[in-house]
Amino acid sequence: MIRRQLFNENSQLADLLLVNINLMHILPRFKIDVGVGESTVKQICEERNISIPLFLMVCKVYSLDNYTISQATVDRIPVDQLLGYLHNSHTDYIENRVPSVIRSIIDITQSSYSSHFKAFLQKYKEDTDIHFAYEEEVLFPYINALLNGEKTERYNIKEFQANHTNIQESLNDLKNLLVKYAPLEVEFEKKRKAISELFLLEEDLNKHHVIEDEILVAVVSAIEKELR
């Protein structure tokens, strides 16, 4: 059980990582490197002009089960930085996380079905790319326009919320199939690597969706109200 009080600006970043190593995944999205000694969250964020409420919010989403964000926190999160973080996350998934998982899985599926498995994985990769591209090409420009005071009738955040497609479905199928039918002739170590990596990616994506569905939606709804 991780204590909520740990997540304050005077905590050392190292201490946060020591209680939840999954926070490693968010560091590159804030352009923070690992190995920052005894620096506190405050020092690290101030040096890099990162909003402290945003950074702590993301850490809490990744570390605490059933974390619910208060309106006061929502109000303190700068939207442009939140968008920047989400954009960097998408790049991270597209360029690093998803290809890496796919490589590990291809590594264990050299069976007679490998061409079909590759096609399945290819389809998964395409679905993921389309999912993120929609956010980058439709949602984010809309929010940026809002930030410039432009209000359009054609689109709103409720529409995003209603249509936020679930890319978890194919990922779930992948987990299910690998756990049940990973080829017996493949070395265990390779299977351990591929399956663990897949589960980690899923966990990470779940948290990413919490940030989008709950925090981003709350922040953007507030701006929409102001402009009305």
Binding site: Y113, H116, F120, S170, D173, L174, N176, L177
Partner: protein, 207 residues
């Protein structure tokens, strides 16, 4: 009648007259009262420490005990619903609460009626358990047949025509396949079918 042939029953009823009366009616039948309680909390405390295989088959309770919190559903008190829940009715109870019970016995029911109602309630509860365990079952022959057509790229309508069944039946089979395998996407089902030798690589159309 030996203990193992009997259904175990717990009674939750504040009135001693009623619970003693029920015990008398159930004496020497296929139901055996293992314990009686005056409040739901007492029952829950007792049940909490019970191993799963010792859970009672039937819980007979007086719905009036819910009187102080009528807005709460039965589900919140008996979330896993392994036992049959039977209401014993002798005062007014809201209709929506009664709907949640597996059977209702009234104060004027004959002993034979009460026993018949309890037997029905046990059947209802065992069917409910079967539904919960369905994902552990394997695909039926028919479901495998349909899965093979699905991964070969046939539409629901085409599958229905081939097997001479309605499109609704095809859809309900497909729902069961998804439920049993836990796999939702068509490309995932394709892999499943290959791994389980339901189709071979040659069966699959090239894109």
């Amino acid at each position: 009648m030996s203990v193992s042939d009997q259904y175990s029953v717990a009674i939750i009823e504040p009135s001693r007259i009623i619970s003693q009366g029920l015990m008398a009616i159930l004496h020497d039948t296929d139901f055996r009262v293992v314990r009686q309680f005056e409040t739901i909390d007492d029952f829950k405390q007792w049940e909490a420490v019970l191993p799963e295989e010792k859970r009672v088959d039937v819980v007979l309770l007086n719905p009036a005990l819910f009187g102080t919190h009528p807005s709460q559903s039965l589900n919140s008190f008996f979330p896993d619903a392994c036992s049959s829940l039977v209401a014993m009715l002798y005062s007014y109870t809201p209709q929506e609460l009664l709907l949640e019970f597996d059977a209702i016995i009234g104060i004027h029911d004959e002993p034979i009626t009460i026993i018949e109602k309890l037997r029905d309630a046990v059947t209802v509860a065992s069917k409910r358990l079967d539904c919960q365990n369905m994902d552990k079952q394997e695909l039926t022959k028919r479901e495998m047949e349909i899965l093979a057509y699905v991964v070969k790229g046939l539409t629901n309508k085409e599958i229905g025509e081939k097997l001479c069944i309605s499109i609704h039946t095809v859809i309900s089979h497909r729902k069961n396949i998804v439920h049993k395998t836990g796999i939702k996407t068509v490309s995932g089902l394709l892999m499943y079918a290959l791994f389980n030798d339901i189709v071979t690589v040659e069966d699959i159309p090239r894109e």
